[in-house]
Symmetry: C2
Subunit: 340 residues, 2 copies
């Protein structure tokens, strides 16, 4: 059942039927009702390929997925996706993942824009002066950044959590508990979120005349193993830290294991705080010692990004609005006063 048949059936022109269906004003209410009725009755659904050719709109949002043998997709991605999908579903939006060579995402961005494959894209895990940002900005496709970049002379729309504030608060708490030697096991130092977290922590320390020594910062990919290694190296120093802030629950698993291996205890010898993106399958309250966290649901972020993308596509949102979500600091058993 296509438009032609439907309009024949109604003794109307395709124009009128199309307009009636798409809510244009130049059609009488009565006619519109007739058309709508017939469309529903016959289960007419406009052919998206045709519509897309005519309008250039695809009804899809895009994500360029870096791939490659050495490239691991972040497990956070799936939770973000849950949220995104949840919203997208209610708006009949599909998501297209365009795999790209991790060393050359530009080609893929150019392709999906040139081909008008998607109406909008989102970008995640941005770095300072991230090329992708500059690119989509000049390409002129609607987009939203999940996270933030830095060092651009233009503004852009983003959704980010207050990473700096979160780690500032966490560090401040630890300092108040008497800790003087803090350490940070961070994610990839080239990503903005990691920079912000470090910044927040430094600021909290500075406020009490303390500093975060270079030796006390580890920037690594967020795996259990890296958490373990980083923690061991930190704890086996001469003057080991008495508190660690850690950028992910998965790394925190490794930290806990390292502490055990060294015969130490949490929070007796070491206080530990980690950032929690809220996974259903790994919860901080279930750590051997319940883990204090800075918490922000990445799933909700996904839903919000989808919502804003939809708004941008339909022209409801414009400009370069940045949105920063506060982060909860949830204190559990893994922090205590500094050992004396």
């Amino acid at each position: 059942m296509n438009l032609k048949q439907l309009s024949h059936m109604l003794s109307l022109s395709q124009t009128t039927v199309s307009r009636a269906l798409n809510g244009y004003p130049e059609v009488s209410e009565e006619t519109r009702r007739r058309v709508m009725d017939a469309a529903k009755r016959h289960g007419y659904r406009p052919n998206p390929s045709a519509r897309r050719l005519a309008t250039g709109k695809s009804g899809m949002i895009g994500y360029v997925l870096p791939t490659g043998n050495a490239v691991d997709i972040d497990p956070h991605f799936v939770e973000f996706l849950s949220g995104l999908g949840d919203y997208a579903r209610s708006h009949e939006l599909d998501l297209v993942l365009s795999p790209a060579d991790a060393d050359d995402e530009e080609t893929t961005y150019r392709r999906i824009v040139a081909n008008r494959q998607v109406d909008a894209v989102y970008i995640s895990s941005p770095r300072p002066a991230d090329k992708r940002l500059a690119l989509v900005n000049t390409l002129g496709i609607p987009f939203i950044v999940h996270g933030r970049s830095e060092g651009f002379d233009f503004d852009y729309p983003y959704l980010d959590i207050d990473n700096e504030g979160a780690f500032h608060e966490a560090a401040r708490l630890l300092v108040q508990l008497g800790h003087k030697r803090l350490a940070l096991i961070n994610g990839n130092e080239r990503e903005t979120f990691a920079i912000h977290r470090e910044r927040g922590m430094r600021r909290a320390l500075a406020a009490s005349g303390l500093t975060l020594g270079e030796r006390h910062i580890r920037s690594v990919a967020m795996t259990e193993e890296n958490g373990y290694r980083a923690a061991r190296r930190l704890l086996e120093e001469n003057e080991p830290p008495t508190a660690i802030a850690c950028s992910s629950l998965i790394m925190a698993l490794g930290v806990v294991r390292a502490v055990r291996d060294l015969g130490l205890t949490i929070p007796g010898d070491l206080s530990l705080v980690a950032h929690d993106d809220v996974f259903p399958w790994l919860r901080p309250e279930n750590f051997p010692v319940p883990l204090s966290t800075t918490r922000s649901s990445i799933r909700l972020a996904g839903a919000r990004v989808a919502e804003r993308l939809a708004a941008r596509i339909s022209g409801l949102e414009e400009g370069a609005r940045g949105e920063v979500w506060p982060v909860d600091l949830v204190v559990r058993g893994s922090v205590a006063g500094a050992p004396t």
Copy 2:
């Protein structure tokens, strides 16, 4: 630059240019070369929307993503995706995720097929007599199942690992080590993989005149917390199992925690084997006691599924070929002889 302009430029008809570009035989080699040259020189790329309207082919593969507030996307998904994306990239295939109400995926399947949004789909985590399978089979869209179903009167193409064999081997080893009371912490009992694993284990036990009591099987969603709970319940019984097989590393984390909480040790009091899908961020060799596993890379499976989907789309693969991958049993420190 579109086909019209290009053909004008070459003083050829659109027909000929189109045919030259798409490798049809009724065009001379010389002309073809001229066309190819010009196309490359001017960076001509056929408009996919137009091509799609004309041919009905989209160059995309689809996945229906169940969503909803209560629905958690499996973290395995992201690893599978890595593999899929890796292959898809090299073939300029995009992946479209169509979010669906978890309680009504059928509507979404029908939509993407009716709209010809994708050329093929894959289905994951199938159950026995899975409705989605029957549906895509009648809808006639090319598909591949990742996993297996059961109880259909038709065959279908799938890629699965030998779950039954894997758990059979694992259980056999445990029995040989003298264990008599085994337990299984399984995934969702309604999914085929879980059924197969249980079957494999039962078979191994039966071969030695042992059985797997109902009390010794737990079927739960694969989270750390569920692993913990299941393990506690098992270990706090009168005659607790001396060996546990566990369907995922994440649950195994919980099992390890439970063992610790109860003041027991691995492998002294309990031998533990888990299935490992090979995540980069959580590795069995890094468990407090290196974990014995049945191992199969889900990432490779993703790549293979993509490969076969591509083959089906281009007509290179036909029929209902099932492919079952063997699973490695990797023995590490977490198994030992049964306590006496």
